[in-house]
Symmetry: C2
Subunit: 367 residues, 2 copies
């Protein structure tokens, strides 16, 4: 379907952001390119260029990878690929690219049914999915298995989610014991853990959090006085065994629905959503900055989001701009982190591309 | 948190539907009960009663199961359970209930991290998850592993998705080759297949569908003339090896964005969303009725939904009222169907509770 280059005011679909960013996209499907640009734009991600190149009759995947490798505007490279015509050229280009950029590839046609569909769509031949996966691993590129995973991994690669090193999760702000239980299950299922906090951390929190109706021993399902909230978050984020904080924003504490008569909040509900989004972004970013512990944001959906007056699009975007990734469920956040750790594992010996340029406006090539 | 009984105008949260339905809910978490009632209400589901019973200090899970078993207003029983105090009483009540109702259970605390969280929340002791799962299987109740699965399985149990018997999927209406490829992958991954259609079916469709730019050999990514659309859908649904149709609604054909100047569509975008929802519901229901092949609805999200002017809430609700389940992704639809088939497999020898009362207003006990 062509090119999307916001800096040249070029787009192949209406409604794409006019603002540039640091993500380069190559896609063999125009509709999927639309889903990727459109879906990620709603989460704050901006693109340097996107190429929808179909069956690659002229330029091919390796040509676009070489372009992205040399492109100073692109730090992250996302790809939707159904088939590769010249395997060696692709692998070599992928190696060059993944050495200096964070590369995330979604391969369509991984299964028998999917590869039959891909053949009808772009004439792509299946090839061995094992060989493709091994090539990605060896090059140091990351694989996504679904469209949702591709979206989540781009957000993770662009935010401080990528700095996660261990597997210990502190789970905070769930506002609901049942939510905390299911979240802990989801975290565990993806190979992460929700470790008990050390006694020092628990004792410190118990000074201002009553025992009745609260749990402070991870998951943290507790209502501290508002002036102790920051302190509580920092205690949790720096406790022994905690490698990251999974948190849904604790704005408006205790959680309560928007009040029309509230003198501090006279705005419309969309004003309020925007205000809460900015408050949440500051809360999560300052926690991450102060403690050097990555903070992974969890959106609340459905009723809870409504009750709290959250605008999830605004919240995702504000957090992203502050360098914090937000995910639509605990399961998706946990899976993303787990893939990220796996990715780092197989980049052993390759340059560190996980540097500190958390802002989406960065246009430096990571060194 | 108490009781929700719409027929008695009793509710423990604001915003629950006032209308009654045929789903009974018991939940050990008030927040999760809110997510279940609120989330499913948005998909058209209505409840007979919901009970949020916490740690079960007085009445326990088996008491509520016995109530549901005898309740003529409840055909489907959904449960969120963290722990069971009297295993034998629970198992016996579950057996009685699952004999005559479609029972779907989400157990919180399935993992080490989750069971620790459940202990903090409702004082529930872990017990063996294997024993719990075996009890469900033996009783003929269905297990959900996540909140999303619980939602999807309730929708499936209440609509014609539950009539699926085989594993062959016809995939139609994707409007996008890349979407079709990833959908086929998702279907395959869940143990279903996207079989090639027989030559007779393909030849019939090729009479009015040009070869260029289209695929009719499953996935069906094709644009027939509008007056042949119904015929095409019926050819696909009755082809050899096809046990169900996965389709995203083919309203407004070819797909195009809302037109302000369109004389046939002068309404606001929400009027249009509602109109398309009703059209889609009729399209899917008549296809299922005419061919006796279950039709499973796929929502489009993001840009594609926007471009087509779809209102997903309206579409889910209208389809549900017509007895058609809609799912937010192909992966979720495929997983749901796969669990449904598994469920039927272990109900061998138990009464058939998958009868034909597809309307959510039904209050008959299935015989």
């Amino acid at each position: 379907m062509g090119l999307y280059v916001p800096s040249s005011r070029l787009a192949f679909m209406s409604g794409f952001p006019q603002e540039s960013g640091n993500v380069f996209l190559l896609s063999q499907s125009g509709a999927n390119a639309g889903e990727i640009v459109g879906g990620l734009a709603g989460r704050g991600v901006r693109f340097s260029k996107a190429v929808s190149y179909g069956n690659g009759a002229d330029l091919k995947a390796h040509d676009f990878l070489d372009y992205a490798t040399a492109d100073p505007e692109s730090d992250i490279v996302a790809a939707y690929i159904e088939g590769v015509q010249d395997g060696r050229a692709f692998f070599d280009a992928l190696k060059r690219c993944a050495k200096v950029k964070r590369v995330i590839i979604l391969k369509g046609g991984r299964t028998a049914s999917g590869s039959h569909a891909a053949h009808s769509h772009t004439g792509s031949l299946a090839g061995s999915i094992e060989v493709f996966d091994a090539a990605c691993r060896q090059a140091g590129a990351m694989r996504a298995e679904t469209m949702d995973e591709l979206h989540d991994l781009v957000v993770a690669a662009a935010t401080n989610t990528r700095h996660v090193t261990g597997r210990g999760v502190a789970l905070v702000g769930g506002a609901g014991g049942g939510f905390a239980v299911l979240s802990a299950d989801a975290i565990d299922r993806e190979g992460l853990t929700v470790p008990k906090l050390d006694k020092a951390a628990v004792d410190k929190m118990r000074e201002y959090i009553p025992v009745a109706g609260s749990s402070v021993n991870n998951p943290i399902d507790a209502f501290p006085p508002e002036d102790r909230l920051d302190e509580m978050l920092r205690t949790v984020a720096t406790a022994n065994g905690i490698d990251m904080v999974f948190m849904s924003p604790m704005t408006g504490w205790p959680p309560r629905p928007p009040q029309k008569s509230d003198p501090e909040d006279p705005g419309t509900s969309s004003d309020r959503g925007q205000k809460l989004a900015e408050k949440a972004a500051v809360q999560m970013k300052s926690l991450a900055d102060d403690t050097n512990t990555p903070v992974v944001g969890l959106l609340r959906t459905g009723r809870m989001a409504q009750m709290m007056g959250f605008d999830n699009d605004a919240m995702s975007e504000a957090a992203y701009r502050a360098g914090i990734g937000m995910f639509s469920s605990t399961a998706r956040a946990a899976r993303t982190v787990s893939r990220m750790i796996e990715w780092k594992g197989y980049r052993e010996g390759l340059p560190d591309i996980f540097g500190d340029d958390d802002s989406e406006s960065s246009s430096e090539v990571p060194s």
